[in-house]
Symmetry: C2
Subunit: 203 residues, 2 copies
DNA sequence: CTTGAAGTTGACTGACCGGTCAATACAATC
DNA sequence: GATTGTATTGACCGGTCAGTCAACTTCAAG
């Protein structure tokens, strides 16, 4: 017998990959099983439905994102620089994925949310949940920047949501245009939303 | 025989509706035909494929959007006020649609682009084409605002794209969260991107 | 009255869909 | 060595998928 979890983990990994590169609707359970080298019976042993696998894959993908975000948004980094590093990381991450697949793929959670928010309530809720986790990083950075007198904002939470919505928009734009260069401009919009001159940026 | 185009127009209208409320992948040709009261043979008489119908429906939807945008972005309106009116119009439009369908549905072109950009090159290109048309309104408003000394920007085109990306992000956010109130905050981010105090706004 | 183009019909195809199921294999425990 | 829980298999289900087709209707122009 294989080590515990191997089939289940492979299904999660393959599902993330295929759905990210294509879409939920265009990827079948058979596709996932075939790519994972797992028979369909096993699929339904581990997951009650395609939607449930997808939710599990979103959570799995989050855990990988979290590792990157915890580093990028470390309190040891000056708050404004954290946001710059987030932009850089997003660009690098998208570039890496684009080299692998040949197309800009955007954010899997966002794409899934956009496709299925009106169809699968549980997938929508999972997308919202993960988006909230992202915003926490932004909010904390904005508050720290405010505390250090680097920026001025009347509402740190609202500013964080603006930053997040903007970065979402840029990412979606880059995906639809299949153009990585748009991500290089993400910094400028962030600075504008923070009321900072681009030159003010640290190191 | 029905007046020319009736079946074709009905297919276009129904397709826009169903795909907007659901998704491309979850709506079948049979669904569209049934809802339109048109037999499948006729469908394939008018459109060579499901993807081609979708592209035609995107263009059709654009023509309706254009009427609204031409009015909102009229040169007779002060440039900054145009952007405010765009925010108001987006909110009203989403509210109207949400009341009809019970859920926030976002922008059909954006949603289709997000779902299919890696799968159907022609749909991706149509989405990009329509997005460019949107940006023209923003760009013109930004340039006019600059000419009137209302705002200062080093690059009107880049600012317009920031505004568009941000509004896209907010719209997507509102769809995924199924929350119309987010759209009421769109103005604030726009003003921040334009380097304008919220109080500066006209009328 | 004839012709032919435009539009319509519904039965049909074969592949594929998500999901089910009973049977089986395996390793650990009693 | 019998029992148990975990994991795996592959055949199978009814329904749906996008797309095809030849026959048909309608109607206006010649």
């Amino acid at each position: 017998m294989k080590p515990p979890c191997e089939s289940k983990c492979k299904l999660l990994r393959v599902a993330t990959q295929l759905v990210w590169e294509n879409s939920y609707g265009s990827v079948s359970v058979d596709d996932i099983c075939k790519e994972a080298g797992v028979r369909k019976g096993s699929f339904y042993y581990f997951f009650p439905s395609k939607a449930d696998l997808t939710i599990a894959a979103m959570e799995e993908d989050w855990h990988q994102s979290r590792a990157r975000l915890d580093e990028v948004f470390s309190c040891q980094t000056p708050p404004v620089e954290r946001l710059e590093r987030y932009c850089d990381m997003s660009e690098a991450h998208q570039r890496h994925k684009a080299e692998e697949f040949g197309k800009v793929c955007g954010c899997p959670v966002l794409t899934l949310g956009a496709e299925l928010s009106t169809l699968h309530e549980n997938i929508r809720l999972k997308a919202v949940e993960i988006m909230e986790r992202y915003i926490k990083y932004f909010e904390s950075a904005v508050r720290d920047a405010q505390a250090e007198g680097l920026i001025q904002t009347s509402n740190a939470s609202a500013t964080a949501r603006q930053l997040f919505a903007y970065s979402q928009g840029v990412l979606m734009d880059a995906k639809i245009r299949n153009d990585l260069t748009l991500l290089a401009d993400m910094r400028a919009g962030m600075f504008q939303l923070l009321n900072l001159a681009p030159e003010t940026r640290a190191a």
